[in-house]
């Protein structure tokens, strides 16, 4: 777990996370069990401080209840449970909350990412701090099934010897990486298109089409 992720998670617990932060964090929670544990710990502390009863709640329920504060109402049709969100909050907070809710789904929402290309830009080299063991990986489009080619640039910044660690990325890793980085923006673009009027029923149909899991 990275420090940034830990900070994002803390911000989420403290309800100070940005909407994108919320999405990304929840995406990460889904894929990393240790992050889930950390989240549970944060929740337990937060819940205890607030006097909440946390027993018997699933992670999803907990995420929902933490982000949501939804008041429920009855459904008008049989076999349907209805939750109602009053239109009282402005975009950043309420929208951020509901976007947070979609995060886990969004991580798998972009059903078929066709032709994924991942390229490491030159300036990546400058963002590695001098104390870090430099691990620089060049990605290519996963032409092979199992592995993406990797190149490691060993760093020796502090005069001592650093042992670079090779990381082999599977196609799924790359897809997950791309999905985590881009999925939420794809959803948001569909929303934007809809909000500004769009051009047809297509934005909505696109969204429905994106609800498939990643293959």
């Amino acid at each position: 777990m990275t420090e940034a992720l830990r900070n994002s998670l803390s911000a989420l617990v403290d309800q100070e996370a940005t909407e994108f932060e919320v999405r990304k964090t929840l995406d990460a929670v889904k894929g990393q069990p240790e992050l889930k544990s950390y989240w549970c710990g944060c929740q337990a502390i937060s819940g205890t401080l607030n006097g909440d009863d946390l027993l018997g709640m699933t992670l999803v329920n907990r995420v929902n209840s933490e982000l949501d504060e939804v008041s429920s109402a009855g459904a008008s049709t049989p076999k349907v449970n209805v939750k109602f969100l009053p239109a009282r909050e402005v975009l950043p907070s309420r929208f951020g909350a509901l976007i947070g809710q979609l995060a886990i789904a969004a991580s798998v929402a972009f059903a078929v990412v066709v032709g994924v290309k991942v390229i490491a830009p030159i300036e990546m080299q400058s963002v590695v701090s001098s104390n870090e063991s430099l691990e620089f990986i060049k990605f290519q489009l996963p032409g092979s099934k199992e592995k993406v080619s990797s190149q490691i640039v060993s760093g020796d910044f502090d005069g001592g010897s650093t042992r670079p660690m090779a990381r082999i990325l599977t196609e799924q890793d790359v897809k997950r990486m791309v999905s985590e980085r881009l999925s939420s923006y794809l959803v948001r673009h569909a929303e934007n298109t809809a909000v500004v009027g769009g051009t047809s029923v297509l934005p909505l149909a696109r969204i429905m089409g994106h609800d498939e899991p990643i293959q």
Binding site: T18, V80, V82, P92, V112, V114, A120, S126, G209
Partner: protein, 323 residues
């Protein structure tokens, strides 16, 4: 004689230097205008198929009015029974199962092309043949892109009602990138039937919040002809701002998302799905990165050119001050 050549040269120069604008066939544009009005004002329902590379969805659609409120519902008929609806200013989303995560997508305004803007963009509008869709007679309207920075479209418009029965988004190479088509269309109010044996759905309702336009800058140093900034959607939380800029030429659109993050810059990424591209590019910035993401229905090379031509230094300064 030289004067004639000179005049000819001047005339040619004027023609060549004039930006490519829409070549409109008035009947075609009128048909699109009527279509835009019909899809919002009529009550109708039906079943349609949406398809793009790797995705095929069967959907039921319903549009009507109740108590003066516009209502639209879309329900997926195969696979997981998802449903989205809009009633007035509320959004509904229904998904099965107890652990339901809400998604809260606003429903689009359906066909609502910016006709003026569309006519100023390099498209050629023309009427095509009369064809049969959903057991109805339809007029084909071709919208052909006149440059390589946008896709072409083909619309099948119902003769009787002007409703859109079928639509295709076509690449520069002539490949169909996505399409939808009504297989059944019923005029008048009619609710989508829900099968009795279906699993329970949890329905969530989301308010549609009004957007405020406070962003007064566009970082795009280069835009394809006809594209304009149509919406700027800033959001902020915990002191961090994310700017969403939406550009459109009346038919196609793309969004640019800008944010300053405290995390390390990530590699450049590209995802393509049907007509939609998503490009992510991070720039190192003091204590983090300027994260730029472009998503839209434009060709990949166009998206790359736009994102590469952004005024990054200006953005860093602007966003850094607003931090």
């Amino acid at each position: 004689m030289p004067l004639r050549y000179f005049c000819g040269f001047i005339g040619l120069w004027i023609i060549l230097s004039t930006p490519a604008l829409a070549i409109s066939s008035e009947p075609a544009v009128s048909r699109l205008q009527a279509m835009a009005s019909a899809v919002k004002s009529l009550a109708y329902s039906g079943k349609l198929v949406y398809q793009r590379e790797g995705v095929l969805s069967n959907l039921a659609f319903q549009h009507d009015f109740k108590n003066g409120e516009e209502r639209a519902r879309l329900r997926r008929l195969s696979g997981q029974p998802l449903e989205r609806a809009r009633v007035g200013d509320s959004l509904f989303e229904a998904m099965p199962g107890p652990d339901v995560l809400r998604q809260g997508y606003p429903l689009p305004g359906l066909i609502h092309p910016g006709l003026t803007q569309m006519r100023e963009s390099p498209y050629r509008f023309s009427l095509g043949a009369k064809e049969r869709v959903a057991d109805r007679s339809a007029q084909v309207v071709n919208v052909e892109a006149l440059d390589d920075h946008r896709y072409s479209y083909k619309f099948w418009v119902d003769y009787e009602t002007d409703l859109l029965l079928k639509s295709q988004t076509v690449s520069i190479e002539g490949k169909i990138l996505e399409q939808f088509e009504f297989s059944e269309l019923v005029l008048g109010s009619k609710s989508i039937q829900v099968a009795l044996d279906q699993v329970s759905l949890q329905v969530n309702v989301h308010p549609i919040t009004a957007q405020e336009t406070v962003l007064q800058f566009s970082p795009a140093s280069w835009l394809p002809t006809g594209y304009q900034l149509v919406s700027a959607l800033p959001s902020k939380a915990a002191g961090q701002k994310i700017y969403s800029l939406v550009y459109s030429d009346g038919l196609g659109s793309f969004s640019i998302f800008l944010e300053l993050t405290s995390s390390r810059a990530e590699p450049e990424m590209l995802a393509i799905s049907g007509p939609t591209i998503a490009l992510g590019k991070d720039y190192s910035f003091s204590g983090g990165a300027l994260r730029v993401t472009l998503v839209g229905e434009i060709p990949q090379t166009t998206g790359k050119t736009i994102i590469d031509a952004l005024d990054v230094n200006g953005l860093k300064g602007l966003l850094g001050r607003a931090r």
